[in-house]
């Protein structure tokens, strides 16, 4: 029963569960170990969701598919329509749709007694809400990229560490076997010493011009949606398409940094460091309200000599995905179970017992729940997510300033360029501010 004891250390709502399981251990034997079976309601992880737009609902669905290990009790969104859709989705899964609903995350965090929360919001809200959830000592499944600025990211990492919570980033590619296998072969030297990495991310979006200002839909609290971002008139762009506006996101680059750059770091052993020199070119829209780079191409040099090129897939022969080039060959991984190598024999290699074995997960959401129960680190912890998005954000700064950026990955500072250093942070609109930890 030691596992159970460990687990309880991480669950606040386990008072009922502990009584139940002590009295009737034979009825719910496997759940405590997270090994499947149908858990009693009292043993489920009590969860809430902040952000119930398309990605939020997708994550809720993935948690509900985990054979009843999770119970959603509360939902929070600035759009009552999204809340309604989330409830409908939950009902469809066969679970009860009796969740309490909130329009303000502060009230949600104040009133709800949860074990964990899944958060899927536009990037400009990540700093404040991830930090607030961690400060409430909730375990967090948080969407990538974990921050809009380096400063936000540093604060989030501190909050997670300080409160000793379990954190899983939505970088789910880590829980897919082709990415895992590719990274594990690379980190164990099967392509020799890594020299360079190419990361191809999706090409940019098309513009929509400048849609007219329009009335805010009744369901949407527009001012709360904007939050710390500058106040602007509503033009029908909020859900999903916030991705194309710099106040809320860095575009495809920052969206996908949490996937293919994250995987690149995993295989190359760069998970806990960052580049020392970043330079490149961005292509920006000429017209309209979408202003994220539609193409991008930058190069990162690391202290150990590795170079990483990050660009839109149209610029690379290999297209989208991550390609590690070593002195003995290359390995390429991508969505669609893609795993190829310069020599197919490399892919047959067995990783020996004493070699590096990367954490293995077959289900990203299950891995989070397992870690909430066990207290172990997830497959995509916050520090690693911060380092992945840092590459994208530093690339963004290099492109915006048109300059070569020198970065100190230890002190996490831009060296000798105060102008570029201003871009490590974004002022928040009052009254919003990020806690100083």
């Amino acid at each position: 029963m030691t596992t159970q004891t460990n687990r309880r250390a991480f669950l606040k709502n386990s008072a009922v569960a502990s009584v139940g399981s002590l009295i009737l251990p034979s009825i719910i034997p496997s759940t405590a170990l997270g090994m499947g079976g149908k858990p009693a309601p009292s043993n489920r992880i009590v969860m809430g969701a902040i952000g119930t737009g398309s990605q939020g609902r997708s994550n809720i669905g993935d948690f509900l598919e985990l054979n009843n290990q999770v119970q959603f009790v509360a939902l929070c969104d600035v759009d009552t329509g999204s809340l309604q859709k989330a409830k409908e989705k939950i009902a469809k899964s066969g679970a009860k749709d009796d969740q309490r609903t909130y329009g303000d995350f502060r009230e949600f965090l104040e009133k709800e007694k949860l074990d964990a929360v899944t958060i899927a919001l536009p990037d400009h809200w990540h700093g404040i809400i991830y930090t607030a959830a961690a400060e409430k000592k909730l375990h967090v499944y948080g969407e990538k990229p974990i921050c809009r600025t380096i400063h936000d990211g540093q604060t989030i990492v501190k909050a997670v560490q300080k409160n000793n919570i379990i954190w899983q980033t939505g970088s789910w590619q880590r829980s897919r076997s082709n990415f895992h296998r590719g990274a594990e072969l690379v980190i164990n030297g099967r392509i020799g010493k890594i020299q360079r990495i190419e990361v191809g991310l999706p090409n940019g979006n098309k513009g929509i011009g400048t849609p007219p200002v329009q009335e805010v839909p009744k369901e949407l609290n527009w001012d709360m949606w904007l939050g710390p971002a500058p106040k602007v008139a509503y033009r029908g762009v909020s859900h999903w398409n916030w991705r194309w506006i710099l106040d809320y996101s860095g575009g495809q680059l920052t969206d996908w940094a949490g996937h293919h750059i994250d995987i690149a770091n995993w295989g190359a052993g760069l998970e806990h460091t960052g580049p020392v020199e970043i330079s490149g070119v961005g292509v920006y829209p000429r017209e309209g309200i979408y202003n994220v780079p539609v193409e991008y191409d930058f190069n990162c040099k690391y202290a150990n000599g590795i170079e990483m090129r990050v660009c839109n897939e149209g610029r690379l022969e290999m297209g989208s995905g991550t390609t590690w080039y070593g002195d003995k060959g290359w390995i390429h991984v991508n969505r669609g179970e893609t795993l190829v190598a310069s020599d197919p024999k490399i892919l047959q290699e067995v990783i020996g017992e004493k070699e590096i074995h990367l954490i293995k997960s077959d289900n990203h959401w299950q891995n989070f729940i397992d870690c909430v129960r066990s207290g172990q680190k997830t497959i995509a912890p916050v520090e690693v997510a911060y380092r992945a998005i840092s590459v994208g954000l530093l690339g963004e700064i290099a492109m915006q300033t048109g300059q070569t950026i020198h970065w100190d990955p230890e002190k996490e500072e831009i060296i000798g360029n105060p102008m570029a250093a201003r871009l490590l942070n974004r002022p928040y609109r009052q009254p919003w501010h990020l806690a100083t930890l």
Partner: protein
């Protein structure tokens, strides 16, 4: 006295003219005079575009009208570094054809422009020079269809006629050889101005490289294939640049040739054809996947025009001038003196009582990261303005030392 002044001005003008002429390293010859398109409009446009590079001194040679006596049409090709074919008409005399082929074989540059790939269906060597052609009874006897399907280059020998296009529309041009000197440094995809999307071209396609394609959407009566738009061909020692774009018809405006993507690829393609290299800088207004960009007067926008438009900006107007300014800032961030000059001009707009609040907000966004102490007092002053208080505060917060 006045006469002397006038003479002096004329002389100065002449000298200036001379010096400009002398600076131009290469000579270009546009050949036109017959076409199923509006050649009277297109030839001066092409000349303007080429002359604008500062590299070319461009002449225009016109053939006689359709059915006219061609025997005297004998341009001295050898005088030129690049010959721009903007011609679709009667056959040339053998002597002229031979002179043209000698010019190309010996290393002369050629640009094939739009309808010129319709011309001379029965002139074998010309078809080798254009690589791909259309219309005028071309068919499988002339060579395969060449296109991309699912990102794979296809040489399709199916039977059928050559040359087609649906209604004119804007379309995305996609680089296939982004590292070729003509495309190097350009976006890998850009929205092209309203144009005919030439499709089902066929021809010998020997020694030909497809630099860029456009997807011919079936919704626009297209082929559902990625059709070649920009090509290079080598013939003997000659270099050929072929652009299938740039339709100029009877309409008053010509969005296809006003498109910055067309202008710049033509300029770069012509230099490459003439020299094998491209030395031209990429202009700040080059379009990308987001939208097409047009130069109705074939001129690049100046900084003062940009600032003037920004000072009149309201939220329903074009943001193009703002994005121009952003590109200008990016170009000079490494040069503190030039950056300060730009900042001073931006601050002038901030001080301008007639400039719009929305325009000033755009400038504050940029000053927030690139502004120096110079702009600070003016920005602080704007904090008192209710419309600008938030944007000015954002700028001041960001300018604080980290």
């Amino acid at each position: 006295m006045k006469k002397i002044q006038i003479l002096f001005v004329l002389l100065a003008g002449f000298l200036l003219f001379q010096s400009c002429q002398e600076k131009r390293a290469y000579r270009a010859l546009i050949i036109t005079g017959q076409s199923n398109h509006n050649w009277m409009a297109s030839s001066p446009i092409l000349k303007t575009i080429l002359d604008q590079t500062g590299l070319f001194a461009t002449d225009i040679a016109r053939t006689p009208k359709e059915g006219g006596d061609m025997s005297k049409f004998q341009p001295d090709f050898q005088k030129y570094n690049v010959v721009v074919m903007a011609y679709n008409g009667d056959s040339w005399p053998e002597k002229t054809k031979t002179a043209f082929l000698d010019y190309v074989k010996n290393g002369g540059g050629v640009v094939i422009y739009h309808e010129a790939d319709n011309s001379f269906p029965d002139w074998k060597e010309y078809n080798e020079i254009i690589g791909l052609g259309g219309w005028n009874h071309r068919s499988e006897k002339d060579g395969p269809y060449v296109y991309y399907k699912n990102n794979v280059l296809v040489r399709d020998t199916a039977k059928g006629s050559a040359g087609s296009h649906g209604p004119q529309h804007e379309f995305l041009v996609k680089a296939r050889k982004p590292d070729h000197p003509i495309l190097k440094g350009l976006p890998v995809a850009w929205m092209h101005g309203k144009d005919e999307l030439y499709s089902t071209l066929r021809g010998p396609a020997q020694n030909m490289e497809i630099l860029a394609t456009a997807y011919a959407d079936t919704a626009k009566r297209g082929t559902g294939r990625d059709e070649p738009m920009l090509m290079t061909i080598s013939y003997g020692k000659g270099r050929i640049f072929h652009t299938a774009m740039g339709h100029v018809g009877k309409d008053e405006t010509h969005p296809a040739t006003e498109c910055v993507g067309f202008i710049v690829t033509l300029q770069r393609g012509a230099e490459w054809a003439a020299t094998g290299n491209v030395t031209q800088q990429i202009p700040i207004d080059f379009p990308n996947v987001a939208c097409s960009v047009s130069r109705p007067d074939y001129k690049e926008v100046t900084l003062s025009e940009d600032l003037d438009k920004i000072s009149k900006y309201s939220i329903d107007k074009s943001t193009r001038y703002y994005t121009d300014l952003q590109a200008r800032i990016r170009k000079v961030t490494g040069d503190p003196a030039a950056l300060l000059e730009l900042e001073k001009k931006m601050v002038q707009v901030l001080k301008d009582k007639n400039a719009t609040a929305e325009g000033k907000k755009l400038l504050l966004r940029e000053l927030a990261w690139m502004g120096s102490d110079y702009c600070l007092p003016v920005v602080q002053e704007l904090q008192k303005d209710a419309d600008l208080q938030e944007a000015a505060t954002f700028a001041i917060e960001r300018m604080k030392p980290q």
